[in-house]
Symmetry: C2
Subunit: 292 residues, 2 copies
């Protein structure tokens, strides 16, 4: 197992435990709502954003216990966005992470409320974190709320872009909001908790932007090159929705090359951090070569 594999598996487990502690149990009323929340949160997600947050924070010297809550909060916001995006009125997805989406397993009303609940529980989790001081918590909440609002805007732009010709600049704007903002927050949150310098913050923000871009490019590639079974979510739906994607602009081969360039730029950025950033390089490499 690679260094990243071992790290990710270990902290992924810690994040799961933290989420289990933070989320209401399924036997607490209203049980249907809490079951829906847990159905989506514990659906076997990769915990990519939490692991990234913990990696950045750890590299810069923060204790893990200071990072866990915020990492769990990021996953809550991410999961809420998946639940709402999957709704019939939005992307109308039946399958996610290899199983029924929340509104299919439960019902639409419950899925909307499960998303709403996860969103506030994320802010609750950070506000009540006893391992962080109030100033850091406010900074985290301020940035998290901005990232989440960008995500909502990105989803709106994405929905509006379907079946209409959009420019490349518009495509990038969608991605920056919809995917990039939360990846950027994950990196910055780790750095904020570790008390990073302004210079480190700028470098890491640049790294995060490139990582977010790489994530989106490979996401688009996977949609056209992989099966639904492999992805655990509906494949080929960008094509069906006539969505603007990197492959639709550049073709598959040129998109793969672009991904490689963004990857190289991202790891070059890390050279400015005077710490052992091998874990972050492996993250970028993982995204470049991921197959789901």
């Amino acid at each position: 197992m690679s260094e990243l594999g071992k790290f990710w598996s270990r902290v992924g487990h810690l994040v799961d435990c933290e989420l289990d502690r933070l989320l209401p149990q399924e036997n607490v009323e209203p049980v249907r709502l809490h079951a829906a929340v847990r159905w989506s949160v514990f659906a076997g997600g990769k915990r990519f954003r939490p692991a990234l947050l913990i990696a950045v924070g750890s590299i810069l010297g923060a204790e893990e216990k200071k990072l866990l809550r915020t990492a769990a909060a990021v996953e809550m916001i991410h999961t809420y966005s998946l639940i709402h995006d999957d709704l019939p009125a939005m992307d109308n997805d039946q399958i996610r992470r290899g199983r029924a989406t929340c509104h299919v397993k439960f019902d639409e009303a419950t899925a909307i409320l499960a998303g709403d609940l996860l969103q506030v529980l994320a802010f609750s989790a950070i506000a009540d974190d006893e391992n962080l001081n109030a100033d850091i918590k406010i900074k985290l909440i301020s940035e998290l709320s901005k990232a989440a609002s960008q995500m909502a805007r990105g989803q709106q732009l994405d929905l509006e872009s379907e079946k209409k010709k959009i420019s490349f600049a518009e495509l990038e704007e969608i991605h920056k909001n919809k995917t990039g903002a939360m990846i950027c927050f994950s990196v910055r949150a780790g750095a904020i908790i570790a008390g990073a310098s302004d210079k480190q913050m700028r470098t890491l923000t640049e790294f995060a932007s490139l990582l977010g871009l790489l994530f989106q490019i490979t996401d688009d590639l996977l949609d056209v090159t992989q099966s639904t079974e492999k992805l655990g979510k509906t494949a080929g739906k960008d094509l069906i929705a006539e969505k603007a994607t990197y492959p639709s602009f550049y073709g598959i081969e040129r998109t793969k090359q672009l991904a490689r360039e963004v990857y190289l730029n991202s790891i070059r950025t890390l050279e400015e951090i005077p710490k052992d950033t091998s874990l972050l390089k492996e993250f970028a490499e993982f995204i470049l070569s991921r197959d789901r």
Copy 2:
């Protein structure tokens, strides 16, 4: 105009200005999303919760500028809950505050995202308030997120209660979560910002619980006694949905009497506050005798 009328009209205007400053303008992309947010926020709501928050804070000596942001945040959370509750998958309401509900005027996807966006903007507003220190902001965010999570739970319980016999205790549990929690937060937030003592906080929390109860009882009464035109939202829908309400348990006359008892208890509570609480008494009186 009564003392309360003058106060409410003045602070209602201030809250509207604050909301206008905090919410993205309609010409900012995605314009449809921001137009939807503004459609629902500026639909002529009474600003009851913000006015209550500012009244409590002012009585206890807080400067108004310290109260405004949180008051606006409360209205954002309240409006988000109305937008989501009105959705076809939930209460399926076409009319709210006398005009088309958000998903009718725009579309379902936009309405879901408008609610989501308002929810995070509320946390953003408090986190970025330069008139409050970090400790107070964290306290407010912690309590607001809990109140909002209770609201989501209350809505789920409410939906599940339709067309099934529920006990009186279950009815009260729904109201306590769905309506009571945010009214309680409004009162407590004013007190938190003013630096109220523990004793004052307990007394005001008791007052808020009674006010929330009174609000729900009169809401149930209005649904059976008023017209849709007068209410600005669909009247008689509790009956159609066979919903458990105070009038369905007690009949109209006994419910009116109950409202009067709760009102009297609420103003009795205020006697323990060694300040001029006439404004709060008028609030309770307003709710008792409201006709919409």
